[in-house]
Amino acid sequence: MNYGEIHVLDLDTIDLSNLNRQFLFRQKDIKASKALTAVKAVQHMNHASKLVAHHGNIMDTKQFPLSFFQGFDMIFNALDNLEARMYVNKVCLFTKVPLMESGTTGLQGQVQPIYPYLTECFACVPKSTPKAFPVCTIRSTPSKPVHCVTWAKNFLFPQLFGPGSSDLIPTKGQNEDDDEDDDETKNSLQEANELIELKFSIVRAAEDLGDSPDYSFVDSIITKIFTEDILRLLRMENLWTSRSKPTPLNYSEYSLVIKNLEDSGLIEDVKLSDQKIGSILENLQTFVKSTIRLTKRLRLEKEIYFDKDDQDALEFVSSSSNLRSYIFDIPLKTEFEVKQIAGNIIPAVATTNAIMAGFSALSSIHYFISGKNSHVAAEASRMVYDSSVPERFVNTSKLAEPNKNCKQCSIVRGIANLDIGTLTLSKFRQQLIEKYHYEDDVAIATSDSRLLYDFDFEDNLERPLKDFIRDGDVLLVSDSEEILDHIELLISDHEGEEIRLPDLTIPPFREQQEEEEEGEEDDEIVAELGNSDGIVILDEEENPLKRSNEETDESSPIKKRKIDNLVVLD
């Protein structure tokens, strides 16, 4: 389509599992930067557009300050997580740059053109958030495979191989109260401390594992987490009054076989089909093998984070979660299934990506042929989603109006250019009142609700803004008389320059909406796992980069048109 300049951003490197759908990547590119490789591959195709690759996190304000985004005519999102999507959505609201939001999962996908404040933004429709599990279910009373996987991945694995904490936590006062919670807390603390000791033993083993390997530390890990910890849980009788009790692992039944395998060095050859449910012995063997391998790696890598495509880590999580499931009489899972649960894996195929990338690029035409008129483009654009109903392949709908109660786009916002090093809060306040004609006074707070100033909190007035915020931060300004509505100002630092506040039309004051309704669980894709990184993940899309049309075809609907810059996020 001959776009003038295309910037490609990605923080990731290429993995084997990307190759089933990425025609820009080859086997030899594994571990290389996705952005750089994609750009190189497209340049190789004799592209006329100027291509620039950025290897980095889109949310890194140092590498990608607001001014970076302002330089583009359009942004294409092909992101795989909610946090980054929300972030780019917000950036586009501040900069008013149109956004093509897209994603796929399996054979389904959607493209949503977003023209800030004219059409629905990404935040206008509440997104379902993943299920969370109570800590005690994970730690003490699992009842489903997912609980055990979560335990293995988010608790055991980081404790043993991650950065973890290396300080022993003091056990709280020796109070003899038989309260279940307290009992559980004490129990967890003790468990945690013992784990830290195990971690020490692993670190020590990592240093020693050389010529004459001593694998006894693995035995003590097994005995502790699958026998002793369970015995301790059993002692908390009130946990088991209405639940069936777990059965601690009888390791002595298996230890000899394992020992033989270790001694003969055959343990390294243990390999279980990822489609079969392993026996207890097989899971134990896999556990021992992966623990040894991870420990060896620890010597070089210092700390290992769980990655679903890291075979050792996956085998460790798979086997330990299965052993725990066995103890709690929960059905075991195959490694393939565990990978899905632990990795929040969303299936991804070349075909759906091709279709959605095609739509995404196609939708952008509306904006550029209208001479970058958002109003015209918003009217002409369609939201596209394909449906699993075979009778209707492609569904389209007109772009919806912004949700009046949207937490993101119902708020008036703009960019304030100023020098945070010299401008004081007092001066800033004065400028605000003058510029926007506030009746009396304003309140100023940071985006994380830290109050900087209001009429009875004047302590900060003479301090420069840099004491509270950094370049790129957002400040919330509200009218103390509640006549005008709240506004958000994104602060852009310009050293030595006079303050420039944006021209804004502030609507009358509205009551703040109380807590939004819990997003009804609809067909939205819900990731299975509840934890900090358990966000809804759509696997990444192809880069909708286009081949130039070298023939100047006068009758072609998109004849050589000068299109400026755009950015592709992956």
């Binding site: 054979l107 990978k339 299936p347 075909t351």
Partner: protein, 508 residues
């Protein structure tokens, strides 16, 4: 790469079509005729997921500047190679597992060797063959041996896709509704289990762990007894709220209320698609190598006898404790196995065949939502345009116009051996009229067709990469569905309008 690596490479897709589907892919052989941009985009989507072998027939065409302008897979330096050869090279680099061959013989030669075509799982024709005779010959051969023919086309902002496949039996349709709780018809063992649970006697903890399907069945039976009728979801919800709630925090009751709609589901009902399969099964002796039709007959016998289909055995996740959930899982699994065994016995007794356990399991699990597609070789159906204009769905009509436009374009191509440009508008229109007359479907020229024809002329036969990528994605998807015999294939025609970003499908 060892096996595990292959597994990892295809991990994200195996989750859609399972290792058995992947095996079908890697054993498949695809033939593609005409290596233009649409074709290369389609092939890319087949090379990446790892089909076995691809054969390209392109009659030794050379790379043209037009190809270079729109294709991602051809570059300048390669102008002196044949188009197919160059494409094969680039595509091979994408995935070393796939064998890509360039056929040196011309299509007209190959059409006289019917046996040549039997190795293919699917034949894709991009754009048009040289003439109507070739089209007829190819379609005859493939129809006879029941090999799927896919025709894909893209010009300017328009694209079409047509599947000509004599017969396809799809067992694994991946329908989302395979969960089968039998709330209204519990079998004796399930009923016994439900009766053994006395909700009133349970302590709060155990009470809140009773799976929602048991709650719903109990409520269903209580209300049914009272009124003699199938209860409504709102009555069920009310009952749960007023008679079962204890502290208001029972998540299993929340689940039961949220899924109260399930009481409306009549376990005896079967979808229309299955009724039609049963009807067809009556007279179909099937082929000797597939147990499908005999199994359909066995299934019909079972359904006739019990008034119910065999249990799918698929149980959703429910709020519960391990013990209760496992007990329930076991009941459903046992019933599934028992029903499966009965089907097998009927099958063996009456039809004397053999069937593998894995096929039988898949069959029983998915039988409710199986599909049989009977294709057609016709290019057009006279009733289509009259139906559409009567139904007055402007969106469908406009998509149908695109399909008719491409038919006219094909006739034009067969006649003049080139694609039309702006000066050919009137010829193309005349072709369209004679075409519609041929199908006897014109009382008047369809609204909007003229515009479509003009747009086709304006595009001067050029492919837009963007549209090619999109239709290539859809075509690739359909080929994968055909090869794996999973998911419901397009039945059997679609067109895409890139100007309106709008697709339409219909059956010919």
């Amino acid at each position: 790469m060892d096996d595990k690596d292959v597994g990892n490479k295809y991990d994200r897709q195996v989750r859609l079509w399972s290792p058995s589907g992947q095996k079908c892919l890697s054993n498949s052989s695809i033939c593609l005729i005409n290596a233009n941009t649409t074709a290369s985009e389609t092939l890319k989507n087949l090379v990446l997921p790892g089909v076995g072998r691809i054969t390209i027939i392109d009659n030794s065409r050379k790379v043209t500047p037009n190809d270079l302008a729109s294709s991602f897979f051809l570059s300048d330096s390669s102008s002196d190679h044949t188009r197919a050869g160059r494409l094969a090279n680039t595509l091979s680099a994408l995935n070393p597992d796939v064998e890509i061959l360039v056929e040196q013989r011309s299509l007209s030669q190959l059409l006289f060797i019917p046996s040549y075509w039997s190795e293919f799982s699917c034949v894709i024709v991009s754009q048009f063959l040289e003439n109507a005779d070739h089209e007829r010959l190819l379609s005859d051969i493939l129809w006879r041996i029941n090999v799927c023919l896919i025709e894909v086309n893209s010009i300017g902002f328009y694209a079409t896709l047509r599947i000509k496949y004599r017969e396809q039996e799809i067992v694994e349709t991946h329908d989302n509704n395979t969960e089968d709780l039998r709330l209204d018809f519990p079998w004796p063992e399930l009923q016994g289990h439900i009766d053994s649970i006395n909700l009133d006697e349970l302590d709060d903890q155990s009470f809140s762990n009773v799976p929602y399907s048991i709650i719903l069945t109990k409520v269903y039976q209580r209300l049914h007894k009272r009124t003699g009728k199938r209860p409504t979801p709102s009555a069920v919800r009310k009952f749960i709220q007023s008679e079962l709630r204890r502290n208001g925090e029972e998540t299993n009751l929340d689940e039961a209320s949220n899924r109260a709609i399930l009481v409306l589901k009549d376990s005896r009902e079967i979808p229309e698609s299955l009724t039609r399969i049963f009807e067809e099964g009556e007279n179909n002796d099937g082929s000797a190598d597939s147990p499908f039709w005999p199994l359909v007959k066995a299934l019909y016998f079972f359904y006739h006898k019990h008034g119910l289909l065999p249990l799918s055995g698929v149980l959703p996740d429910m709020e519960s404790d391990t013990e209760q959930y496992i007990a329930l899982t076991k009941l459903y699994r046992d019933k599934f196995e028992a029903d499966k065994k009965e089907i097998k016995e009927i099958f063996e007794d009456q039809y004397g065949g053999t069937v593998s356990d894995s096929y039988l399991t898949t069959f029983v699990k998915n039988c409710k939502f199986m599909r049989v597609h009977r294709g057609s070789r016709e290019s057009f159906k006279a009733s289509l345009l009259t139906e559409e204009s009567e139904n007055e769905d402007p969106q469908r009509l406009s998509n149908l116009n695109i399909y008719v436009g491409f038919l006219a374009l094909k006739s034009f191509y067969y006649e003049y051996h080139r694609l039309p440009s702006v000066s050919d508008c009137s010829e193309l229109r005349a072709t369209a009229i004679s075409l519609l007359c041929h199908y006897q479907s014109v009382r008047n020229f369809p609204d909007g067709l003229e515009k479509v024809l003009d747009e086709i002329c304006r595009a001067r036969g050029s492919e837009l990469h963007n549209i090619c990528a999109l239709i290539g994605g859809i075509a690739g998807q359909e080929v994968i569905k055909v090869i794996t015999n999973q998911y419901v294939t397009l039945d059997n025609c679609m067109s895409f309008d890139g100007i309106k970003a709008q697709g339409g499908t219909w059956r010919i």
